[in-house]
């Protein structure tokens, strides 16, 4: 019997490794039973509602090697369990990658940013309310989507790239990292692999039960930002119902190399329109070599929404993504 009232966790074994090797060994040995815990802002809702359960948790925030921000030969490297507050206030990030500082600075609320980590923000699970309510939908391993139907409450859901599941990528920092062409450092007991930010996020067509490329036993341990896009012209905007403590209705992260008003190159990604951060390749192509102007903004805006397949209540995302692209191009 499902009782709709919960608000009480089951017993969980808590592991608090302080060094990398230990944490990776735990992740390997616990496998899918080892729930990775960052700031807990995604986790606690699940386990208190008993909609997902964990027998063991590996708290990652005590591993110093995975915290902090440092300069590298080719940019900067951010430890994955660095808090969003720290990222948003870090001078190095603000100086070179202000796009990320801004994105990290508008996640949820100050309280959540104070404990929430970059890895947690990137790897957080879908926020579709049906899924979060604990329903056995596709994403939960079931055989149905409650949101994608003529009557489903799908105002916040995807307008692009849905495949059975119509949930969107909820992260504010994810599109910023795609725009900055970041590289994700994924560690496991077997070693390390590097995945581009764009490939880190996985849509439901490929894996309907996970939003990232992380496999069992793997931990996102760092994010590298290459100098290639440092100090580009950035535009970030998050439109949400509320100005704090909310997920984006649509967000845009744009990095542009502009010289004498000409957009030489750009990387633009949107959040909350697809299950993954949506890279606007066609817009980037249309912008390349063009003089920045209102006319250009108008022209490329409609490219951004091409192929959109709105659900019943999210048609507004089409004009919204177009408007945000215009604003990014206008600068």
């Amino acid at each position: 019997m499902v009782a709709t009232s919960h608000d009480v966790m089951l017993d969980i074994e808590l592991y608090q490794p302080t060094d990398e090797a230990n944490a990776l060994a735990l992740a390997a040995s616990l496998g899918k039973d080892g729930w990775l815990l960052g700031g807990g802002q995604d986790t606690y809702g699940w386990v208190k509602d008993r909609n997902k359960s964990a027998t063991a948790m590996i708290e990652l925030t005590q591993v110093d090697a995975w915290k902090g921000i440092k300069e590298t030969s080719d940019g900067i490297e951010i430890g994955a369990v660095t808090t969003l507050t720290e990222i948003s206030k870090n001078p190095l990030v603000k100086e070179k990658f202000a796009l990320l500082a801004k994105a990290a600075g508008v996640v949820a609320s100050p309280q959540i940013r104070n404990v929430g980590t970059l890895a947690g923000n990137l790897a957080q699970d879908a926020r579709c309310w049906y899924y979060r309510r604990g329903l056995d939908c596709y994403r939960a391993g079931g055989n149905i989507c409650y949101a994608d139907s003529p009557e489903g409450l799908n105002r916040e859901h995807a307008i692009f790239g849905a495949s059975r599941c119509v949930a969107v990528s909820p992260s504010d920092t994810a599109p910023a990292l795609v725009a900055l062409d970041a590289t994700m450092v994924i560690s496991s007991a077997k070693g390390q692999r590097l995945v581009s930010a764009q490939d880190f996020f996985v849509g439901p067509d490929v894996n309907i039960t996970s939003m990232t490329a992380l496999e069992e036993g793997e931990i996102l341990t760092a994010v590298r930002l290459p100098n290639e896009w440092a100090n580009a012209e950035y535009y970030f905007e998050k439109v949400a119902d509320r100005n704090v403590w909310d997920f984006a209705l649509v967000s845009i992260s744009a990095a542009m190399k502009v010289s004498n008003g000409v957009i030489e190159d750009s990387r633009i990604a949107c959040g909350a329109v697809e299950c993954v951060p949506r890279r606007l390749d066609d817009v980037e192509n249309a912008l390349r070599g063009q003089q920045r102007s209102e006319q250009l903004a108008e022209r490329v805006a409609s490219i951004a929404s091409q192929g959109a397949e709105p659900l019943n209540y999210n048609h507004f995302k089409i004009p919204l993504i177009e408007n945000l692209v215009k604003r990014a191009v206008r600068g």
Binding site: T4, V8, L10, W129, R133, F316, N323
Partner: protein, 807 residues
């Protein structure tokens, strides 16, 4: 008039506890041997419980017992709407079916997951219009509406009638309820501008921060219930009968409450507190029942949503000649309130409309429990009517402030369905004061001006609620040490009205505040009955009772002085905690001496004899328990007749970004007309708190249920989109007229509810202004609606949809 206390700020005694976190809410209490109850609630929007198999759960270690509707209602559940303590006939998802008590919450939850409840699924409906349509499902087992004293009924319209209404036309079916005055047809005929449209407003939860948790235990045959309420005496009075315990054996303990907003005023809106009481009785242990946010959303009450049609006629001079309303109000899963009637009543009062017709029908839906919420009816309609007034002003070429001044209520006016005279009304003064503080003229020059993607919108809003009652009791006592004890049953809702109303008694006796003790917090401190603390009435109602009781005490004090020192009571004056001969101030007695003498005299002086005949039974019990140990002032307040209104006016400037549908509130000025101000800081809190609520009503808050399955989609603070501090102005400017009301001894009237309505109205007005006067005829108006409007996108939302997204 120079007052010692009235109109002065002070620190209410519970403030320190709230700031330091030391004050106790129901959840903070514990008792030796206390166990924990948890609820199993209905996962289905409309069902009948066929069987409950709890054998596996009850066999678990640490499980003490189960409470079901059969335990609570051995003779069967009452066949009416209204929340039940527990039910076998749930009509909304989240309604409590049973409670289980265990050694801790974890065990209780695990045990509950092992209980198998077999439900018979019944047809459900989430939009009242779907239920009204011929063949549509009914939310309740006996129909889709409940007629007071008559029982369940099924209201049905033809499919064409419903479709026509959804398409924007005047409903043609017979309404359940009506009122009318004036010649509507003639008024419309005289009108130079007539506006007609359908509209919707959302019903959404009260969202009190403190969930309705409660803890109960029995001791020596008495029930002690730690609970939550916005009233103390009034709620205790009703709660005893819900639990089934004599009033004299019931102690209700409630020092502080984390929000009520209408759904904790009366016992029948919070019957879940009977669960730990009943469970404790059954298993003979103290029981704590903590209520989750999810549960609070389901049973914590929600405003009624409207699906309405309105037609307003304005004469060429701007006079609102006619208002014709037809409203279907959403009664939710457990029955609702009288919001629709109040909405029409409010228009009649705020705009002194010459002819009004109201028609209304209340229909159930299998959604959250409905009941009075801050300005029930008045505040929903405030957000709808303000842009209509602006439209009329535009069409008739009248200034937007002017049209409100033309129609304003003022002293000597009557208003509403009952055409009741006001006790006083200073709306014209409030409009003037607000316009000045807002710099209306200067700001109005920016109206609709575009700068990049941003457009300025200026809004004006007005709010109203009846704000005062009478017929309650007061008890004050002067103890042998000369301290004044004000027994106050108002309850600590967070408005500090329990303290500010006590100031009236201190004022009468000119007692220094530090010599006054407010006796409240639990009913075994013996409190007088008060009106439930709803309807913005407390300040009016309870300054009357406390003033009266203090006057009774003062009379007795003078009488004692005369007995001791000779002469007539009328020859005595008082001051500096002494009663003395007016002619010879040195001859007198201290308050303490008088109290001591009074105690020695006993009888009527100490509440042992000659009580006011009309005293309520609840108060009589308290007086009988207090009698004898202090000099007592007792008062029964005779009912008054006129309408003490609470009025507010708000001016708002927004900067609308037409590319994102988001706006900044650049300036907000809100002015209250609530008679003499008793507690300025308290009033300011009410105005600002009301403003946040008003912003929520017009701009944010939603109430979503999936039409496929009746599941609530907006549980909790994130999904329901209550505005945050970043969505509200950093500074909301407040002000007040501060002119006395003649029917209150200290000149005060209430303000709580209208504080919200005017803001809701002014924001709706400003949004409309920023979009070239476009009328959404909806509350809320959310970012997606604005984006769609600007982009010319037609929404796929069902017209007039309730408990869903809107177009």
């Amino acid at each position: 008039m120079a007052y010692m206390h009235i109109g002065k700020d002070f620190v209410p005694p519970d403030v320190n506890g709230k700031v330091t976190g030391r004050i106790k809410y129901a959840e903070d209490y514990t008792r030796e041997g206390m166990v924990y109850a948890r609820l199993l609630t209905s996962p289905i929007p409309h069902a009948r419980v066929v069987n409950i198999d709890a054998s596996e759960a009850l066999a678990m270690d640490g499980v003490f017992g189960l409470l079901t509707a059969d335990d609570v209602y051995p003779d069967g559940e009452p066949q009416s709407t209204g929340l039940k303590v527990l039910t076998n006939e749930p009509t909304l998802v989240g309604e409590p079916i049973l409670a289980l008590a265990a050694i801790d919450e974890k065990t209780a939850e695990t045990a509950i997951s092992k209980i198998s409840v077999t439900f018979e699924r019944l047809p459900f409906v989430l939009d009242p219009l779907d239920s009204l349509a011929e063949g549509g499902p009914d939310a309740y087992n006996g129909g889709n509406t409940y007629v007071f004293r008559q029982g369940f009924a099924s209201e049905k319209w033809s499919a064409d009638q419903v479709a026509s209404f959804r398409a924007g036309n005047e409903p043609t079916a017979e309404p359940q309820q009506t009122f009318a005055y004036g010649d509507l047809d003639a008024a419309l005929a005289e009108s130079a501008f007539v506006y007609e449209s359908t509209f919707t407003t959302a019903g959404y939860p009260h969202q009190s921060m403190e969930p309705r948790s409660a803890m109960a235990y029995w001791e020596n045959g008495k029930l002690y219930l730690h609970g939550t309420s916005q009233s103390l005496s009034a709620l205790a009075d009703g709660m005893a009968s819900i639990v089934g315990v004599p009033q004299e054996d019931f102690v209700f303990i409630n020092e502080a409450t984390g929000g009520g907003f209408g759904q904790r005023a009366r016992a029948n809106s919070i019957p879940s507190m009977a669960i730990p009481a009943k469970m404790s009785q059954k298993i003979n242990r103290p029981v704590m029942m903590r209520v989750t946010r999810d549960e609070e959303t389901a049973i914590g009450g929600a405003r009624q949503g409207f699906q309405g049609w309105i037609k307003c006629g304005f004469k060429a001079d701007g006079t609102m000649a006619a208002a014709d309303l037809y409203i279907i109000s959403d009664n939710g899963g457990k029955g609702g309130g009288g919001d629709a009637y109040s909405a029409a009543d409010c228009i009649s009062i705020l705009y002194q409309t010459e002819a009004v017709r109201f028609r209304g029908t209340s229909i159930g839906s299998n959604t959250g429990h409905r009941g009075a919420q801050r300005g029930p009816g008045q505040n929903q309609i405030a957000a709808i009517i303000a842009p209509i007034l602006d439209k009329a002003a535009e069409e008739l070429g009248i200034d937007r402030l002017k049209i409100r001044q033309i129609n304003t209520p003022q002293n000597g006016d009557v208003g509403g369905a009952s055409r009741t005279p006001f006790t006083s009304a200073y709306m014209p003064e409030a409009l003037k004061m607000g316009a000045e503080q807002f710099n209306l003229e200067e700001r109005m020059a920016r109206s609709r001006k575009r700068n990049g993607s941003k457009v300025t919108g200026i809004g004006i809003g007005q709010g109203y609620h009846n704000a005062g009652r009478s017929g309650m009791d007061g008890i004050v006592r002067l103890t042998a040490d000369g301290r004044l004890k004000v027994h106050n049953g108002v309850g600590n809702l967070g408005t500090y009205s329990y303290a500010s109303t006590s100031r009236a008694a201190a004022e009468v006796l000119q007692m220094p505040w530090e010599r006054v003790d407010i006796v409240t917090g639990r009913t075994d401190r013996h409190l007088p009955i008060t009106s439930p603390q709803d309807g913005s009435n407390s300040i009016f109602t309870n300054t009357r009772t406390n003033y009266g009781a203090a006057m009774d005490l003062l009379g007795k004090m003078k009488e004692i002085a005369a007995m001791e020192l000779g002469g007539d009571a009328a020859d005595y004056d008082f001051g500096d905690e002494r009663v003395f001969k007016a002619a010879a101030p040195s001859e007198g007695m201290t308050f303490a001496e008088i109290a001591q003498k009074g105690i020695a005299l006993g009888g009527k002086f100490t509440g042992e004899a000659d009580l006011p005949e009309e005293l309520n039974d609840f108060t009589k019990i308290s007086v009988s328990r207090l009698a004898g140990d202090a000099l007592m002032g007792i008062y029964h307040d005779a009912p008054h007749n006129n309408n003490p209104p609470g009025f507010t006016v708000t001016f708002t400037e927004i900067e609308m970004d037409v590319e994102t549908g988001k706006y900044d509130i650049v300036e907000m000025v809100t002015i209250g007309d609530c008679g003499t101000v008793v507690h300025p800081q308290g009033l300011k809190n009410q105005l600002v708190g009301g403003a946040v609520w008003g912003i929520g009503l017009t701009g944010y808050e939603r109430h979503l249920y999936d039409p496929q399955n009746g599941l609530p989609a907006s549980t909790g603070y994130w999904q329901s989109k209550i505005p945050t501090m970043m969505d509200t102005p950093a500074k909301i400017k407040t002000g007040w007229v501060d002119l006395p009301d003649p029917e209150n001894p200290v000149g005060a009237r209430g303000i709580g509810e209208p504080a919200m309505g005017a803001v809701a109205a002014s924001l709706a007005s400003a949004i409309s202004d920023s979009l070239e006067g476009h009328l959404f005829n909806s509350a809320p108006v959310t970012a997606d609606m604005i984006i769609n409007h600007v982009a010319g996108v037609t929404s796929e939302a069902v017209p007039l949809a309730q408990n869903n997204f809107r177009g």
